[in-house]
Symmetry: C2
Subunit: 340 residues, 2 copies
Amino acid sequence: MKDKATSFDIAYQAGVSQSTVSRALRNSPLVNEATRTKIQAIAKELNYKVDKNASNLRTQQSDTIALLLFEDPTSDDSAINPFFLSMLGSITRACSNKGYDLLVSFQQASNDWHADFEDSNKADGLILLGYGDFVDFEEKLVQLTEQGTHFVRWGAEVEGLPMVTIGCDNFQGGKEITEHIIKQGRKNIAFLGSASTHAPEFFDRYKGHCAALKSHQLVVNPNLQFNALYTEEAGYKAACRLIESNEVFDAICAASDLIAIGAMRALKEHGKAIPDEVTVAGFDDIAVASFTFPPLTTVKQDTKIAGEMLVDSLLELISGKEISTALIKPELVIRKSCGE
Amino acid sequence: MKDKATSFDIAYQAGVSQSTVSRALRNSPLVNEATRTKIQAIAKELNYKVDKNASNLRTQQSDTIALLLFEDPTSDDSAINPFFLSMLGSITRACSNKGYDLLVSFQQASNDWHADFEDSNKADGLILLGYGDFVDFEEKLVQLTEQGTHFVRWGAEVEGLPMVTIGCDNFQGGKEITEHIIKQGRKNIAFLGSASTHAPEFFDRYKGHCAALKSHQLVVNPNLQFNALYTEEAGYKAACRLIESNEVFDAICAASDLIAIGAMRALKEHGKAIPDEVTVAGFDDIAVASFTFPPLTTVKQDTKIAGEMLVDSLLELISGKEISTALIKPELVIRKSCGE
DNA sequence: CTGAAAGCGCTTACAG
DNA sequence: CTGAAAGCGCTTACAG
């Protein structure tokens, strides 16, 4: 059982040429019905599978997509950001549905990750997903584009960056959640999350947040914005700084669920009741969000739709079509952390 | 920039033969130091990458591992069981560290998934991960073994099944968590989770559970075991049946965290206080477990270690070594759902 | 230390 | 509808 059958073995058994075997297995209309049936039966019996390396080498395409997940710094443990884990799941599914294989790889944003997969013909295109200082890898994205690599990225649309981006309408999401908080009667809303070009997605959420404040005649108090990046721990620390700042606040609008969860921990430790004294809102709607206490009001980024859009766009790009930047609609998910 | 450079292009520029280029790029000691340096410089400049398809075809190995995640039935949405998602993350990391690529694929347990990846030379070996009715795919596992496919699986050791398994010591885990529950003064402990050969991991946990009861002179009441498989919803329903059964119980030992979380929902709906009236324990220690209210006492299966063991074992198997079944040690994680 | 050559297992243009 | 043949881009035994 050890030696794998080749198309020549099948040709021999079927009494035809190897070319005909290849055609038959690819369901070429050129092949006689009876011949095809016979060949396919033999192939099945021999447990024959087309050698992908040979066929890819010949056709110069791999029917494989590479997903690059980058994180900086790489966390020690296997605790990948749950939002990206969920995206990974959804992308895997979407690839399966399209008959593509998916190569998954972690990358340090600092590495020379850019075109390895496509240049080595392991993949027909790339999906880029992750976080890290955007300013750091902006130039790599430009490089990728210049090399003509087929790729799509998940993230924020950045002005002046000529590349296709699939992302969430973060501005809209930040606006809607803030309006919800305001509707619950809060007026002094702190924003926990970095607000700079280093983290464009958060920045867009912040801009939406500010827009909502203004449209309700509320002041944007810059002292109520505290930097925080990605982790629960960062959220916890930002909330501690907020509490110690002695600024008046009755609500927290966090740039992500993880930050919100960290903030809730800080609030509890400081004896602040949620939502009575301080309401808390997140962003992402990761699985954990419905199990916090109280359950977290947040903005859902639909990872199922996002994964499908990323894969669909990439496949169109590979097939030579023009694709354009697209934003998915954020969706307010009201639970109890902002009051009923 | 569009046409990819080949080793012939480099040979031409360097004024050597293509064979020498190939050797130099593989750091063969046969190549003159100066020649090697020169060739590598040119390769870098041309942005040359070895074509994986060609090199795999030639060497007949792919430096790629395939991860098959199977689920039956496949859920509609992207909500993969969080435990497996975490495993996926850890396996991805472990592969990176070993210089292997990882192909990820979802499979219906019912499909003809078995040897596609290895037979088509896309991967050197397989990691099998997932759930579904074990009885259904037992024969496929046997088939895989007979075909000489290189694979390791995550799961329970099953008697009489001659294949390598990496798993958690589920018996021990079930025993420890039950002893903890007993130590908190509970005597009527319900077990929520299937206890049959269709779900061997749960069955082992149940056996450990029963062993703990017996060693503390408690009766094993079969009416307190309720079937539930994998989902929060299943846990919710099992707990409802338990409550409606009018059996006396003061604790729930769930076969997984998701089941435990569903059970907590049912208890809350029926006005039962956790942990005062009923204590609840889970299994897995998924990320959500620390955010439930009250936080869930559970048994941790360390996915980081598990992922590394799976990858390490598979690589040894591929390299021709003998490997043997191994169990990772479960770890009691005490939070508040079983009392302080 | 280097080169010429075979061959990995396919796909497909070409000829019939 | 079928076959003989070229060629995808490498790696490596063989000869020097």
